[in-house]
Amino acid sequence: MALTQATGAAAPPLVDASAIHRPRTLLVKLPRPVRRAGGPLLLLLLWQLLGDGRILAPPSAVLAAGWELAETGELGVHLLASLTRVAQGLALGIAAGVLFAVLAGLFRSGEDLLDSSLQILRALPTLGLLPLVIIWFGVGELPKVALVAYGTMFPVYINTYAAIRGVDAKHVESGQTFGLGRAGLIRHVILPGAVPGFLVGLRFALTSSWLIMIIAEQLNATSGIGYLMNQAQSWYRTDIIVLGLLIYGVLGLGADVLVRFLERRLLTWRHGFGGA
């Protein structure tokens, strides 16, 4: 190797350029879903070792309780009741949130009419409405569904509305120059551009839907996971209480997986930074 040493400067120590920012190989060999499950599994193990039936039942007792309830069919009934409520509430809340966001986002008059009202209503704590909701809708399914719908509408509305307003005016302009009418602009430019914001809202909505459901079912219900847990409290059955919490947790995780799946499907066009 012919090195031209023009000056008397000493050669600096060299490092391999590929080693400067190489991602650490720890756990990288495992598939992504396995890596994501690793943390929770470790937590479970610790809990099994330290758990005590009277204060906090260990996972084995929780599973046994789960098995017992599943065999009698009780668990399925309660799970289905909770899932149905959440699904109905979410469907209503998301639909209302998107509808209001589109109206307020697209039309100046819609914004004037809706946005300030929704911002005021949003400031009310959703669960604070419970007594009123019970007076209005009684103690059946309706109050729970209504509360979930109410609570999930706002995150969907706020994020979708902001995303619609955040669509780049240059894209709207280029749509106009290429012959898109109002409907075409909404369909090809504004709504697709608002999808990332909508998905953020959806994520928040899914989280708050469970939160509302837990409280609503514990206060006033004859079925559902929250009811199951409330009953267990009277009998000091920490295993069933933990089972209920576990189910809520698993459902929350499932919701997260669902949103991730939707993001992958709907946002393939965004090859942004995906995390190191």
Binding site: S174, T177, P192, W269
Partner: protein, 238 residues
């Protein structure tokens, strides 16, 4: 009858008049370049022609079939390349593919815009403009954000495609060389919002910077733009 007829077009922003009575006729198939210093209202005139600004006074007639290529490609990031090209058109897949073929990107029709290089994206924007068979092609500094090598290739491509489709072209640029190379007529918009100069480019097709007459025209335009030519060999306004 021209492809563009402007009579006494005026436009002010907050009391400042950037277009102070523009009279201009562009013939069908004519390639006109508009030079001007930044902030002189070049793009304002183009946006009025594009139908993106209705705040002007005076009379401005443009063809119904017109397309724009902006400095940024302005492709919709959530639509694949071919869908961007055929945006707003019905049953235009075949024409869209043909237009992509013309700009040499036929194999990229399923790509997302974010994966394209700057030059590629601008070629897609050109295909999107030309697939509409416009009678007037409006170019708003379309090569301003490209690197010098890509810009040279884009110049050649634009000349080839304009020769083929023969739209009237209105090119807004601050690059004097680009204006002389591409256009058959060069206008200069002065700081007071009027057309200060309207010159035909009487140079042979396939001209380059060494063509006799190029330097003289360039010097004249630069003087009009208020840039004094520096000693020979030093490139100005690049």
């Amino acid at each position: 009858m021209g492809a563009v007829v402007a009579e006494n077009v005026r436009r002010s922003f907050d009391g400042r008049e950037v277009l102070a009575g523009i009279d201009l006729t562009i013939g069908p198939g004519e390639f006109v370049a508009l030079l001007g210093r930044s902030g002189s209202g070049k793009s304002t005139l183009l946006r009025a022609m594009a139908g993106l600004d209705s705040g002007y006074t005076g009379r401005l007639r443009v063809p119904g079939k017109r397309s724009v290529v902006f400095q940024e490609h302005r492709l919709l990031p959530w639509k694949r390349v071919l869908d961007n090209v055929t945006l707003g058109l019905r049953n235009a897949t075949a024409q869209g593919r043909a237009a992509l073929g013309e700009v040499g990107l036929a194999q990229h029709e399923r790509a997302w815009p974010v994966t394209l290089s700057g030059g590629e994206a601008q070629r897609v924007a050109l295909a999107r403009a030309l697939v509409r068979e416009p009678d007037l092609l409006l170019l708003d500094e379309p090569f301003g954000a490209l690197d010098a090598l890509t810009r040279i290739r884009m110049h050649a491509l634009l000349q080839e495609l304009c020769g083929k489709h023969e739209p009237a072209v209105f090119l807004v640029t601050h690059d004097v060389d680009e204006a002389i190379l591409l256009a058959s007529r060069v206008l200069v918009l002065s700081a007071n919002g009027r057309l200060a100069l309207d010159l035909p480019v009487d140079l042979p097709a396939g001209r380059d910077r060494g063509t006799p007459g190029f330097a003289a025209l360039r010097a004249r335009l630069l003087t009009e733009l208020g840039v004094s030519e520096e000693p020979a060999g030093v490139s100005v306004a690049r």
